[in-house]
């Protein structure tokens, strides 16, 4: 392995991190788990002049659950920590499940969800669930912070809304209202260690009658250049009665909004079909979860 030379910094605090970032904004890259970044550096797709390792920044570690605010996951938290967290299991079980599907145990102990999201891959494992949860990102830089709904985070293939000097600090998943659930469904070419051909996260919220749709969100992955929401489908599904026809319709509408391409993993046609099946099954699972089944 022959890497292009780079400088390496490992700050201990947010202040140091932010100072380094503002000084080297254009030529620095953050290193979290490195499981995406180092692949790109090895293949010389990226040649950053400086790598800033956030592994020692304690203020970026942790998960907290607050009944009012929801679930906050700081950016340095490892995927394996998210996978096994009691809070995540309780307040966002679909995220715990999605985290458990990422790579292998070794990869999950290195990788972070922030890396997963910031790498900006259209097939990233956690993105659809975060879209379904309507997660809000805290984006910070020296001297300031801003909040951004995750659906506005990805701009184009592997391009995010992070400006030079900015970094992702935290995820907030708003507390789920009553009668709501999120589910995640995915399909890869084998049981583990693969890139999903299609993945989808769905949010279903019912009216008091427990049969009318109050709110839905559909976050789709690997069917376009970025993970995105099927907004037309969402609009059309709102107000419907939940039954088999609804599940089928949800699948059809999601597939209609999917714009996949043929690649080495699957054809576009098959991906659309998968999106329909997975969305149907995810909604049916979400409905079962709300009903406590």
């Amino acid at each position: 392995m022959h890497l292009e030379p780079f400088e390496y910094e490992k700050p201990n605090s947010l202040v140091e991190l932010e100072a380094l970032l503002s000084k080297h904004a254009d030529e620095a890259r953050l290193l979290a788990g490195g499981t995406d970044l180092l692949v790109l550096v090895k293949e010389k797709i990226l040649s950053p002049k400086m790598i800033i390792d956030i592994g020692d920044v304690a203020a970026l570690q942790g998960i907290t659950a607050d009944p009012a605010k929801g679930l906050t996951i700081l950016a340095g938290t490892k995927v394996s920590t998210i996978e096994h967290s009691a809070e995540v299991k309780e307040f966002a079980p679909a995220l715990s499940f999605a985290a458990a599907q990422l790579g292998s145990s070794q990869v999950r102990h290195m990788a972070t969800m922030a890396g997963n999201v910031c790498h900006g891959s259209p097939s990233a494992e956690t993105s659809p669930v975060l879209l379904a949860h309507g997660a809000v990102l805290t984006i910070a830089k020296a001297g300031g912070e801003r909040e951004l709904p995750i659906s506005d985070f990805w701009l184009a293939y592997r391009k995010t809304a992070l400006a030079p000097g900015e970094y992702l600090k935290a995820f907030t998943l708003p507390a789920l209202p009553k009668n709501a659930a999120v589910e995640y469904a995915f399909k890869g070419l084998r049981g583990a260690m693969e890139i999903d051909m299609v993945n989808v996260g769905v949010y279903l919220e019912l009216e008091e009658d427990l049969e009318t749709v109050k709110e839905v969100r559909i976050g789709m992955g690997a069917v376009g250049p970025i993970p995105y929401r099927a907004v037309k489908a969402e609009a059309e599904l709102k107000g419907m009665k939940v039954d088999d026809a609804f599940f089928a319709k949800a699948g059809e509408l999601a597939a209609a909004e999917a714009t996949p391409i043929d690649d080495v993993r699957a054809t576009a046609d098959y991906r659309k079909k998968l999106m329909s099946v997975l969305t149907r099954r995810a909604f049916s699972a979400a409905f079962a979860r709300i009903k406590g089944e």
């Binding site: 399909k187 070419l189 080495v264 993993r265 098959y270 079909k273």
Partner: protein, 748 residues
Amino acid sequence: MGTFNKVVGVDGVRRDTVDKLTGKERFSGDYKIPGALALAIARSSEAHALIKNIDLTKAKALPGVVRVFTAEDVPGENSYGIIPITKDQPMLAAGKVRFKGEAVALVAAESLEVAREAAALIEVEYEPLKASFTPEEALADGAEAIHDKGNLCFEHDSLMGDPDKAFAEAAVIVEDTYTTSAIEHSYMEPESGFAVMEDGVVVVTVSTQNPHYDHADLCRLLGLEEDKVRVKQATTGGGFGGKLDLSVHSYVALATLLTGRPSRLAYTREESFAASAKRHSFTIKYRTAADAEGNLLAVDAELVADTGAYASYGVAVAMRAAVHAAGPYMVPNSRVYSRAVYTNHVFSGAMRGFGVPQVALAHESQMEKIAAKLGMDPIELRLKNALKPGDKTITGQVLGDSVGIRECLEKIKAVRDEWGAAKGDDDGVRGIGVGAMLYGIGNTGVSNPSTAQIRVNKEGGVTLYTGCADIGQGSDHVLLGICAETLGLAREDIALVRADTMLTTNAGATSASRQTYISGNAVKAAAEMFIAKAVEAAAKVSGSAASELCFTGTAVKGPDGELSLLEIAESLRAEGRELEGEGYFDPETVPLDHHTGQGKPYSTYGFAAQLTLVHVDKATAEVRVEKLFAVHDIGKAIYPQGVIGQISGGSAMGVGLALMEEFDHTSDKNFDTYLIPTVLDVPDVEASFIEHAEPTGPYGAKGVGEPALIPTAPAIVNAIADAVGVRITSLPANLERVHSALQLMGGK
């Protein structure tokens, strides 16, 4: 020591387990070689082209580069290959390249970075030639000849009885075309080795399945006498047939010979993918005839294998596939025409099963089709036709006593009854499928002996010398087990010298599931001779009759006390003799007739049947193998856990062959896109064996390494057909193929 415990058939921790698990065991890449040159290979960017010029100027000018080699530097004959009649592969391309990734030049430098940078600076001027990427293209009129002799590498005919008549009289005829994919071996350890000069000898330590063959072809390439090259097998991290060819050996040997300095080379995974052998993809046109009761009457099969740019084991694969074309069944009339065809793909070579997994897909699919046509139970149909002792195979060979296929099938039937009918669920359907096979142990219709020696060592114990390469499958443990059992010792009492061409004699390749049977016999013979010699010498020294003496493993006991092995050795030495047992075993074979393919290709066969239960998701077409039961007739399990391990691992490989592995020559560079099963894709394999002792085998043993994977893919494909009613005839049965099959049947 002393008290005799049985060794053969007994489990226990394998001797290499702890060292491998703790990392103590050293693979070739783990050795520190002070002063070693780093090597890098410049590889062809073209699939088929003439080399007009190679410009080494920039590469040589790079600081740190010690020397750059091309074909002109090869001192001996720049052609090698395992099969004597097809030594057609150069170690460095000479005037022409035949596949993308072929080695064109070799750089030796002070560091790996420099070596690789220099390799990238080598400028090769090519004149592209028309390339062929399928046997069809390669055999078409106007195809560019890949080798001087043309693009047909090898053809083999086999004829028995009167197949045309049988087809004319048959009640049922089924026919189909089957295709299988190219497959990468995917051993964990890529090709790796190093060379040093020791007293004028080039010593190559390398990851290999075949040290004595390596030695012979290295002598040929380097133009050296036998005693100027020594090959030592390093601990080897898997082979599956892919380490039967030369890989890094010739490069480290050449660099060390010509510079006098040690050198080392390990392929990157990308290099291993690009430049190592693949499993032959096959196209199989297959017709089967049966009477109304389901008795097979005839088989007519045409097999075409893509052997890639060089022959490697192509001849052996095409021939073995033909010999096994009818499966473990009695078929009185047959015609098989098999070809290995050159193309401009990376060469195909040996891979676990040598063409038999490919033909097994065909014969086992055909059995299902016949059963369906006749409304018969597919296991009953197989039982009706299964070979028995004394039956003739399609090469006219009369089988001996160890033919366990019926018992395997009976077991499968009982397990199927236990499983009950396959029931679907909300998302999908389930099906059960059977696969059966026979597999000839050893090389096909040629002499393929093994040898072994047992000598008393300085400590007064015994040392076993074998040329057999243990590549992780456990032959060390098996051969020591046979040696220990015969001598009345424990494995731990015996020292082992293995797979070193200076210290051990040829045991043949670790391939063709042959080492337990053939080297096992050689070891057993050596042990028996050792005992006889010790007793005879002790008789002479003590004046007792040999019949009064008893060999204890460490001494010979008689009425007047005992003589240690050292004492016996000393008495022999006084006569100028050694206390040594030498063993030799060559299975009895009769070469196959050139026109009819008739003969006795192997002296014994392994048999097996497997049963799988699969779940097919009706919407996504995902296939999950939920259960896999395997039963193999292996003659005798010398080390039962090893047998179970082979069957479990082989079945996992079979799942890959069945469902996901398909080497795409244009896009698969590494494991990013080339997917093999993970533990989550393989069911808990319920592996079992039966022991129809082979009279010519050591303690009755045959072999299991390759049989392990052969029935798996057919069983899975048959289970898919049972579940969805549509037969997949092209492997792998991946999502998209199963998906289109489901659409054919109108799935939602």
